[in-house]
């Protein structure tokens, strides 16, 4: 009875509308959930920009908003990389800033007065909602089941692997890049399916946007050609493929070359050569197919195939030759280190030193995508059922992304979407099978025999050739309600656990803005450690407008953003030599460092010291990287070996080597530290060692500021001595011990000329 009443809602046009509305509302809810789950940091702390790079993006955005687009484009930043300056306008990916700038102006036009900071903070969550929607579209292209898309969207909305880079306040390129990535792929699949130039052009357009937004666009640049190449190898060449790829490549390359930072790379660097090569290959194949359709002859066909292979080989050789001869730039370090995994460690310490360039251990995978990680292979397997072009794409994407994410932690980001999609495919197929209300009628004896002794009928011989083993039998369906109930309930509970997991991970791991640290008091209450902002505020208020701050490059962006003071080096590590100079100044004796600091007009030196609080990410722990990077440039002035004891330990207590004890970094970190402790109990809580009671003495710099928990220490670089003495003796005079009168020594005495 009820069924008949409900009928009109689920059948015919009304039914379609109902489902449409349902779908829409579900999507909106998913987006809401995605945004909401990223607001932990804002609620728990405040609306603040997070760790390092976002601070530069924020600063750049402010510049854009206040000075307009063209000034931004030609921006020469004289407050970083002192005294070299940075051609910022030409060396960044403007997509992010331009996006938020556009949003800002749009809101202003709508007379909604909103602070640019809040736009920057909330940009990532906003785009995550869009990403969910894009994933929905992408998945719908993959499967016929209506539920797959929604599931994928839901997964994408709350998967920690994506949340890690897109919580409110992490205002980084990835914030919008992932949306663009997924949406570009969606458009690509659409284009391939329809073989329409319009979708191809749209794809190119969004590819251009992606290029303007994130360096990771190279992933698309290589994935799409790979997809095409695989299809061609599978003998799936078709006019659709030809049209879509050529449209995408031509327009997309032009679009990407409009970004100053990219410029001529698409035709000059190896990363982009695969796209070019596949483009050429497609022309060849297309030509051959055209001729073949005209001249249907077997031998001629083989001849043509040979010809194709030949030309392809020749052009490939040509590419290699050009690369060797240097016309085409070889792999850039970051990208190269993806293939030759040992490369960076040896040749580019500055890349190896970044934590997010480390390989990924399995717990990270499970942490970031809980049960998806084992649904993932199942989904990929399902793609082999009906292996159409788009399923091939999924397979290729999965394998490539899994490899990359294994090599670099940060590339987990590119893996997450496909995992969500694949897992959604798996789950949806399960649900579709087990949520069917109507059971198949009980089979008769004949059918039972046929099924039970399962002699494969001759018709299935064909299926043996291709098609999966698990799909030889015809689909029957689930008989008992019990099995349906059990499977569905289990699955539901897993999904619930997944939701709990995501929430837990997000709130515990990914929601702290590393600028402000939170710690638990013994009584469990939260205690905020705000040393960074304290110190940066001090700089902003107590130092000259153009006081140059020397610090290790990790803090460059923050100093620029929060303290608004010129820095020597920052997180945009474009000049290894300059960074090595700072490394040398930090790791050398004062007499060596002082001239360097004078030459670079350094006014203040900032070091991060966690010894008191047990904050492990401090400069002494990063020190060896400074030494290594400096050693790369001055191998016989700075030696890593000298910082290890004879037994090969890296120590900071009495056992530390002389080089270590005399290095500026060590002195600045532990200067006056032991005055905090009663004698004999001075200890470093990070390294967990006891320190000698007499701390180091500083001659060329003087302590200017130390934050509440000693995390940040700022030292002022002294001017030359007014009376022309060297600073060491001047300092000793200040300390009150008289200069010993030079005893007239035997032998010839040095006469004063002039």
């Amino acid at each position: 009875m009820a069924e008949t009443v409900a009928d009109p809602f689920f059948k015919g046009n009304t039914g379609r509308n109902t489902r449409g509305i349902l779908r829409l509302s579900i999507l909106v809810l998913i987006a809401a959930a995605a945004i909401a789950s990223r607001l932990f940091s804002v609620i728990r702390f405040e609306s603040i920009i997070h760790e390092f790079d976002p601070w530069f993006n924020f600063r750049a955005t402010k510049y854009l908003v206040s000075n307009g687009f063209y000034d931004f484009w030609d921006w020469f930043d004289d407050r970083t990389w002192h005294p070299l300056g940075r051609v910022t306008g030409g060396t960044l990916y403007p997509g992010l800033m331009v996006t938020s700038g556009a949003i800002y102006h749009a809101l202003r036009a709508l007379t909604i007065p909103v602070d640019i900071r809040n736009i920057c903070v909330l940009l990532a969550p906003g785009f995550s909602g869009l990403t969910a929607f894009a994933t929905y579209l992408f998945t719908n292209e993959m499967s016929t089941s209506p539920s797959a898309g929604l599931l994928a969207a839901a997964f994408m909305g709350i998967a920690p692997g994506y949340i890690s880079r897109s919580v409110a306040g992490s205002y980084d390129n990835e914030a919008i890049a992932i949306f663009l990535l997924v949406f570009t792929f969606y458009l690509w699949i659409k284009a391939v399916k329809l073989g329409s130039a319009m979708w191809g052009a749209l794809c190119a357009l969004f590819y251009g946007y992606m290029v303007s937004a994130w360096g990771g666009y190279v992933f698309i640049t290589n994935l799409i050609p790979l997809h095409v190449f695989v299809l061609v190898c599978m003998g799936r060449f078709s006019p659709r493929l030809y049209v879509s790829y050529c449209t995408w490549y031509a327009l997309g390359t032009l679009a990407s070359m409009q970004i100053p930072f990219v410029g001529f790379l698409p035709i000059r660097s190896s990363e982009h050569m695969s796209a070019l090569g596949v483009f050429g290959l497609l022309q060849l194949v297309g030509f051959v197919e055209f001729v073949r359709s005209g001249v249907p002859s077997k031998q001629f066909g083989t001849l043509l195939r040979g010809f194709v292979l030949l030309v392809f080989g020749i052009s490939f050789g040509g590419l290699v030759l050009l690369t060797v001869s240097g016309v085409i730039a070889p792999w850039t370090g970051r990208f190269y280190s993806l293939w030759d995994t040992g490369y960076a460690k040896i040749h580019i310490p500055i890349i190896a030193s970044v934590s997010e360039h480390q390989p990924t251990a399995w717990p990270a995978y499970f942490f970031d995508l809980n049960l998806l990680i084992w649904l993932f292979p199942a989904g990929v397997y399902l793609c082999f059922q009906k292996l159409a072009d788009e399923q091939v794409f999924v397979v290729v994407y999965s394998i490539l992304a899994s490899y990359f994410s294994g090599v670099m932690v940060r590339l987990m980001l590119t893996l997450t979407p496909i995992v969500c999609v694949a897992a959604a495919l798996a789950v949806s197929s399960l649900l579709d099978t087990y949520l069917l209300l109507k059971s198949p009628e009980y089979p008769g004896d004949s059918a039972t025999e046929a099924g039970s002794n399962g002699t494969p009928a001759p018709s299935k011989k064909a299926a043996k050739q291709d098609g999966l083993r698990s799909m030889r039998q015809p689909l029957v369906g689930i008989y008992t309600t019990f099995s349906k109930m059990s499977v569905v309930s289990a699955l539901t509970s897993y999904l619930l656990i997944f939701v709990l997991h995501c929430t837990w991970v997000t709130s515990n791991a990914y929601s702290s803005p590393s600028v402000v640290l939170a710690s638990r008091m013994p009584d469990g209450s939260q205690h905020i450690i705000d040393d960074y902002r304290e110190a940066y505020q001090w700089l902003r208020q107590n130092t000259a407008e153009d006081a140059k701050i020397m610090s290790w490059w990790d803090y460059g962006y923050q100093i620029g953003g929060m303290a608004d003071r010129p820095t020597l080096v920052d997180n945009n590590t474009w000049n290894n030599t300059h960074i090595a100079t700072v490394g040398k100044a930090m790791s050398s004796r004062e007499e060596v460092s002082y001239p360097i600091m004078r030459q670079h007009e350094v006014d203040y030196v900032l070091v991060v010291f966690g010894g008191l609080l047990g904050y492990s990410g401090d400069d002494i722990n990063k020190f060896l990287w400074m030494v290594r990077i400096a050693e790369g440039i001055w191998p016989d002035e700075v030696k890593e070996r000298d910082f290890f004891t004879d037994r090969g330990e890296y120590r900071v207590d009495e056992g530390a080597t002389e080089t270590m004890k005399n290095s500026l970094m060590y002195k600045m970190s532990y200067y006056n530290y032991c005055t905090l402790f009663p004698p004999g109990q001075c200890q470093d809580r990070v390294r967990g060692v006891k320190l000698p009671d007499v701390g180091p003495t500083l001659n060329t710099v003087e302590e200017a500021f130390t934050s509440e928990n000693w995390i940040i220490r700022i030292f002022k670089v002294k001017d030359l001595d007014n009376a022309g003495r060297d600073l060491a003796s001047a300092a000793s005079f200040e300390r009150g011990n008289k200069k010993k009168k030079t005893i007239k020594k035997r032998g010839p005495k040095v006469l004063r000329v002039e």
Binding site: P359, W362, S402, S405, G406, Q465, M471
Partner: protein, 329 residues
């Protein structure tokens, strides 16, 4: 008066020569030896003679222990590079303009030297600057090159030496082209091509078989997503022993893992996804209700247990992870 001066002038170089004579001979004789075979095979006495001051030439001596019983892998790895470097250097500068002599002192021939230098490790490269002559430098203690960062290539050592020999010729290291390898490669390539061309018809079904490809891609994915690349890059141990003589399969710590651990994980994932696949694809194709019922229960049971086990393993890795499923706590 003038006559006297002239006399003096004429005498001076002679005197200088007389003063130099012995050392000159020393270098030339060593150099001629080196031309015959380099690096010079030294023993205690020759080493002492070679490195004795005054010397107007530079010496590079590799102190090594080649014999198997010392088990110095580094020595054996570095030896060919060293020979290559010295030979190509000596060839490159037959006239001995760089005034550099290469020598090798094996532990068996030079125990006393090793003891006098107080060397515990090998190989060690010692570089002696000249004490007299144009390139003389005041402190004549040898400069030591420790192989702290693993085995070095000839080029690296070459650049290190060159740094101490300014304004002197630095003959480049030229590696002999490895013909054998090239030939081997070409032959293998040809062989494969022929093999393919012959076996093509038989291989086509395999290559075009969907199951094969599915298997390959699934295995690849499973390997990568269980951190195989981590093992590859960080060269982690396969298993580590716990304190009590047994082996611990799971390394402690969130960002650390064992070789075996990843394989166990791969197995778990594989099983889980296989169960999922069977539930999704195989089970609905079972025509007999009872079999199907059993299959459903079995597979969902497998998933349940495995997943709970997985969660427990993860709790092991990451303390304070709050979620779990029975039966594993």
């Amino acid at each position: 008066m003038h006559f006297l001066k002239g006399l003096l002038l004429s005498l001076l170089p002679a005197a200088a020569l007389a003063a130099k004579k012995p050392v000159v001979d020393k270098f030339s004789q060593f150099h001629t030896k080196a031309l015959a075979s380099t690096p010079l095979k030294l023993d205690d006495s020759v080493y002492a003679k070679l490195t004795a001051a005054p010397r107007n030439y530079s010496v590079v001596v590799l102190l090594t222990a080649m014999e198997a019983r010392f088990g110095c892998a580094l020595c054996r790895e570095f030896q060919p590079e060293w020979d290559l470097l010295s030979s190509s250097w000596t060839k490159g500068d037959k006239k001995g303009d760089s005034r550099l002599v290469f020598g090798t002192l094996d532990f068996v021939d030079g125990k006393n030297t090793f003891q006098s230098l107080g060397l515990q490790t090998a190989p060690v490269l010692l570089f002696f600057q000249p004490t007299v002559g144009p390139h003389a430098i005041p402190d004549n203690g040898p400069i030591r090159y420790d192989f702290t960062s693993g085995p070095q290539s000839a080029e690296q050592v070459h650049s290190w030496i060159a740094r101490y020999l300014p304004d002197r010729p630095h003959p480049q290291v030229n590696r002999p082209i490895n013909w054998v390898r090239g030939i081997a490669i070409t032959t293998t390539i040809l062989a494969t091509i022929t093999f393919l061309s012959v076996a093509w018809p038989y291989m086509v079904p395999i290559i075009q078989n969907r199951n094969v490809w599915a298997a390959i891609s699934l295995i690849a994915i499973l390997l990568f997503t269980t951190g195989h690349m981590f093992n590859h890059i960080r060269k982690v141990p396969y298993v580590t022993g716990d304190g009590r003589g047994g082996v611990s399969y799971f390394a402690g710590g969130f960002s650390n893992q064992n070789g075996l651990e990843t394989q166990i994980l791969a197995a778990i994932y594989g099983l889980l996804s296989f169960a999922t696949i069977s539930l999704a694809l195989k089970v609905p194709r079972i025509t007999d209700p009872k079999t199907q019922q059993v299959a459903v229960i079995v597979w969902s049971g497998v998933i349940f247990v495995m997943y709970s086990f997985l969660l427990s393993v993860f709790r092991m890795k990451n303390g304070g992870y709050p979620f779990w499923l029975p039966p594993f706590f």
